[in-house]
Symmetry: C3
Subunit: 130 residues, 3 copies
């Protein structure tokens, strides 16, 4: 069973959902009415946090689950937690200024790439072993 | 087996795919050539319907499947159907005017959040039970 | 087991990740600083390649896996490989000019739709059979 990976998935989805709420709030704060998505740099940074988190979901979630299935549930969940922490740092940094997003971005990229490398390595190993 | 949840997944993917077709059509109707994504509010609303549906897919699909696995396939599928209906109302409302998108949006948000709460509740229950 | 489908998933994620790297490079090349996403047609085409690949991930991945589970792992993986090839042609074509994106786009759309039709057909067959 993959209870810990399932839990991390729920938490990652919740964090991503929270970035959408921040966009809705920023629309009100900065007076950017839907469907507009540009017009104020402060709004655009909050919008880019959501978009970038969305952009990473199809990298993170498949890599997380393939790692959990082909290697181990608790290790996948632990690396997934690092991804979430990196995402939180990225979100709080980018909301302040565009150049404060780098550290959190690097942490979450490192975690996602580690999951991907582990997954593809284990898959190839199984395929070679027949 | 999760036949009903699998069916709802296919239908949700088809609905999302349909929102992309509407964008392609709106490009022709309003003369917005790719790669441009702004320039006409009617086009932008159709584009935002697709984007918003895309934005909700990584919330809906993981929550739907974790709910199905940790609770029950037919209940997950039934709530998933509510999500699809809400999405259709959102799409038809937003295509007409930005302020007609609220009811459908609320329905699909309610359905997705119900799936998420059910899933995380059941996952935590299993973890606590060991 | 679904080793081949898992491998294709990792390759599709890697290709999508590569489209993000191209956006980061194009930001530097064309001087488009984050969070801006418009201002130069050459940048916008590279950005649209990433966005369009993102847009197709929630169509491709669920259809790929439901096809693998309900029909067969190697057939799903083979059609998935066609999708990846179409995506590469789309990426290289669109990066040159907006009207060179059509052939690759058609190939990947054909592959994704084939996966979706196979999946929903097999799901309905199982449901009807009880």
């Amino acid at each position: 069973m993959y209870h810990l990976t399932a839990l991390i998935t729920c938490l990652a989805v919740a964090l991503y959902f929270y970035t959408s709420i921040l966009v809705a709030r920023a629309r009100a704060t900065y007076g950017i009415k839907a469907p507009a998505i540009i017009g104020n740099p402060d709004f655009e940074r909050v919008f880019r946090v959501q978009m970038n988190t969305l952009e990473w979901m199809p990298i993170f979630l498949p890599a997380l689950w393939l790692f959990a299935i082909y290697i181990a549930d608790p290790i996948a969940a632990a690396i997934g937690l690092v991804w979430i922490v990196g995402r939180i740092l990225y979100m709080s940094g980018y909301s302040q200024a565009a150049d404060k997003r780098s550290r959190g971005f690097a942490i979450q990229a490192f975690a996602a790439i580690a999951l991907w490398i582990g997954a593809i390595g284990a898959i190839l190993w199984r395929l070679v072993q027949g």
